[in-house]
Symmetry: C2
């Protein structure tokens, strides 16, 4: 398959959608994580989650710079995705510090896997932007360390956190499918059919399946049942 | 007066206290502003307040680096000031987007004035750190622009915002006096009497007076009664 180029209007529209959802997801994650840092039991942990949030903001700015290259304002690109991302956060608001950590790791993980799926079908430059936005090993290491430690100390927390993890992946897939249904350009990009007709629901279901499997791996990393 | 040096244990303890309150104030302001950005009426404004929050986090990291030079962990230095700063935020939680903006500008402004007061009595290096941490012209410009615009559109918002501004300065001074009463080392630094006996209450009252006057100037910048 020849590489897509941004000269193709359909492909270009798909990339703008991709950057739009990516930018708003990063911006919202930044605010959520920084806000959640207020629940930290110590100043050290507060600063650590704060630093993870600042990394997200850096990703946001990188994507905004790419949008500027394409002559699109961040506001235009982000607008179609605001409701879905806000709804996700509204419905998965952490009520404890540990839930906040699980959300930071699991939420970012699902997003990164999704970008990985899309990365298979985009041009090199776009893939680089998307991959850089998903890279967040520091948050993962930090969360795994703290959550595993807490579970060792008190095994009873794990049932509730496992439940919260299921809510996270359920809401992420619900909102993702909502977006796919509304935004043909993005859905086509996600399953590699830009310029070859609309979204294929079977492909989207298969992708949801893969995302769910990788979510289970992450829950296992935390010492939790998926 | 010969310049103080960090070889003097009393002066050194004062500087550690100063960095501790500064670091925790920056960390808390970062989390508060990022959290408040979720109330923004547009993605553009959300990103702008988010960027202001990230600047605060950079200040925090700069101060932490200075503490490391002094061989003090951020946790040790911040611990004594956690309650006062948290109480301030608890009692001045913005309930609207405009209150969040007023708080970002007015709160930072009071802190910066306070650091300016202290800067008169510290060594050059410490003054530089403190001044850099207070520098935040971008937030001021942004808030003044947005708040004045909103007041032009609907004059009725100004009464409520003026009230909120009075609450901010009142709580800031209350918490500041609390800290001064508990932390002799910091109080001595604030009024230039390190190594020359405890805090002078008259001097502290005079400083509160100056801080209140500058607060009135800021409220006027916003188009609000102090």
């Amino acid at each position: 398959m020849p590489e897509e180029t941004l000269d193709d209007p359909a492909y270009r529209a798909s990339v703008v959608d991709l950057y739009g959802v990516l930018a708003y997801a990063e911006l919202a994650a930044f605010a959520q994580m920084a806000s959640d840092s207020q629940m930290a039991p110590s100043t050290e942990l507060k600063a650590r989650l704060g630093r993870c949030a600042v990394v997200e903001f850096g990703h946001y700015e990188r994507v905004v710079a790419e949008l500027a290259e394409l002559g699109v304002t961040p506001e235009q690109a982000m607008a179609p995705f605001r409701r879905a991302v806000d709804d996700f956060h509204q419905r998965t608001r952490p009520s404890t510090w540990l839930e906040a950590l699980v959300k930071a790791y699991v939420g970012n993980g699902i997003a990164t896997d999704f970008y990985g799926e899309i990365g298979r079908y985009v041009d090199d430059r776009t893939r680089e932007v998307v991959t850089a936005a998903g890279a967040d090993a520091a948050t993962a290491d930090f969360v795994i360390e703290v959550v595993r430690g807490e579970i060792r100390r008190d095994r009873r927390v794990s049932g509730r956190l496992a439940l919260f993890g299921r809510r996270l992946v359920g809401e992420a897939l619900t909102q993702g499918q909502q977006v796919a249904a509304e935004r043909d350009a993005l859905a086509a990009l996600a399953i590699g059919t830009v310029g070859r007709g609309g979204a294929d629901l079977t492909e989207i279901a298969a992708m949801s399946q893969r995302l769910t499997e990788r979510h289970s791996d992450r829950m296992a990393n935390l010492g939790l049942d998926a």
